[in-house]
Amino acid sequence: MAAVELRDVTKAWGEALAVNAVSFSVSEGHLVALLGPSGCGKSTTLRLIAGLEEATAGRIHIAGKDVTDAPPVGRGISMVFQNYALFPHLSVAENIIFGLKVRAVGRAERDERLKEAAAILGLEKLLDRKPSQLSGGQQQRVALGRAIVARSPVCLMDEPLSNLDAQLRVEMRREIRDLQRRLGITMVYVTHDQIEAMTMADQVILMRDGQIEQNGPPAMLYDQPATMFVARFVGTPPMSVAPWSILNTTGGVLPYPPHGLSPEVAAIGVRAEHVEISEGGLPAEVIAVEYLGAETLIEANVAGERFIVRKSGKVSVGRGERIGLHLPATSAYWFDLGSGRVVNTPQ
């Protein structure tokens, strides 16, 4: 049984469709990332699941129960907000047990659950503090604590790490994932950061303009992108994709579009690790070189199209230098420019 299931869920603000006939299901105990650029409808989708917004059409099921018209409290969910939504006048302990007090859980059980959550999150020494006396990471933990003590089977997270600095984000990523696994929580996790989605999730749902672009495990989004948008969104760096006809004007060596894809509407995409630098390849000009230690990213311009090359170690190429790029036919993705969909994926 799916822990969370959406069927053709739509949310309209007047004429504008924030979420357009979205359907997906989340298996119990899985972490699903709703990924996409800002304004793609991922947060609205999460708020629909939480019951903070009312769906214009479609049904939402949580644990097999239709909750489309239920208030947030009847849905068996907890939620962590982007700004943590901690009550500034209450202590850490009171913040964590806020919901238990609302639901009139007995004092003994309240204390016990608080102790347990505090132990899990390492908050024991901070229980008497006010949120303003905590660091960002600690505030984040309190917000998690509030979600944990509720013991809801489903936990919703709205960009929970976006207010933390890079170092802490990496730590919290692992911590949240561990916690989710250990407690067996089903988690729906909204983020605009594809690294977060790729590293944490069992399943990534990439959204764009209120619709699902692709829904699958992280490796699938990377290896078999369904559309040009997915290819260009996922991966660090993302895939370089360019119209074949433009590249062909340069006169360099270029693989031919597969059978059935007309050259005028063909776009070729190659991952940075598969692009090679070679004499006689597509004539390109280096516009930027990023040295990352273990590898170097070279950004090059081919007839106005951007290509990124990843080379291990340090590469002695300078800005403005002219190089040749070789796109191997065996690792080329082919897209239809008209529909944006993938036509051919390398085996």
Binding site: A50, G51, L52, P71, P72, V73, I77, S78, M79, F81, Q82, N83, A85, F87, P88, H89, F98, G99, V102, R103, K130, S132, R146, A150
Partner: protein
């Protein structure tokens, strides 16, 4: 002159213009009133002379003073909690996403920007016996006629109602500003935890609004003891001193009876009341308030 001395001098020079006016129109009159309250009122043939506490003894024996003080006490009790309560209610309402939001906000704020004299005249018409608005409405439902401003039992209530109507919209603006500073995700977090609107208000909103409430409370107290304009227009303290408030009585004593020394004595009492209230509020309430 060292740099430090120069900075100090510049600081005082910058403060000087404001300080001169503050001293001239606020501090000096207050001090002068206190001094004057120990002297007799100068008359044409009898210049003012030191009388010690005579004025204060006279005040304690003056039944109208006690009447004004009790009236003012009930006026404060009647207006402050109700206008603050109404202000919070209206602020929460117009803070929600409703249609015609800005129109409603403006409507609530209108009483504040209208000149008090005009407002008092409008209410005067509402309260008019026989053909006033309230009488006409009561007449439709077959109620008996009441002279709202003309009878001792109802006059103070009538004045209280006008004050509430005037104040609530003004205080609403402060609450609205405070509410806009509270993240809506707090309400959403509470909703997910199952808190009712009332629970959320009691445990989260109201405590977070406390700094505003303290500010509004002090203003409301000061206003309650400073109320004079619509008393002048609507009742002139009558009937039988039923609506005489402290400041109106001071005005009467000072400028109708020209007993300036006694007026100064009453003023000192008013100042003392306001000072004590401000001290109590800041000293006691402030410690219990959460500031962000």
């Amino acid at each position: 002159m060292s740099a430090y001395q120069r900075a100090t001098l510049h600081g005082w020079l910058l403060l000087l213009p404001a300080m001169v006016f503050l001293a001239l129109f606020t501090h000096w009159p207050a001090v002068a009133s206190i001094i004057e309250s120990f002297y007799s009122t100068p008359r044409a043939r009898r210049p003012s002379r030191f009388v010690g506490l005579d004025n204060y003894e006279g005040m304690i024996a003056d039944p109208v003073f006690w009447r004004a003080l009790t009236n003012n006490f009930w006026f404060a009790i009647g207006t402050i909690p109700l206008s603050i309560g109404l202000a919070i209610l209206m602020a929460i309402w117009v803070n929600d996403r409703i249609k015609g939001q800005s129109l409603v906000r403006m409507a609530y704020f209108t009483p504040t920007i209208l000149p008090m004299i005009a407002v008092a005249n409008i209410w005067l018409f509402f309260f008019t016996p026989q053909y006033g608005l309230i009488e006409q409405i009561i007449g439709i439902f077959g109620g008996s006629a009441t002279n709202w401003l003309g009878s001792k039992e109802t006059a103070l209530y009538a004045v209280i109602i006008v004050a509430i109507w005037k104040e609530a919209g003004f205080f609403m603006i402060f609450y609205l500003a405070a509410l806009q500073g509270i993240s809506p995700s707090l309400g959403e977090a509470a909703a997910i935890e199952g808190a009712s609107r009332w629970y959320y208000f009691r445990r989260v909103l109201f405590p977070l609004l406390m700094p505003t409430t303290l500010f509004v409370l002090i203003n409301a107290m000061i206003n309650a003891f400073r109320m004079v304009d619509h008393i002048v227009v609507m009742t002139r303290g009558g009937p039988d001193n039923a609506t005489t408030l402290l400041l109106f009585y001071i005005y009467q004593v000072g400028f109708s009876f020209w007993d300036t020394a006694y007026a100064a004595t009453l003023t000192c009492v008013l100042l003392a009341i306001l000072a004590i209230m401000a001290l109590v509020q800041y000293g006691w309430l402030e410690r219990r308030i959460h500031y962000r």
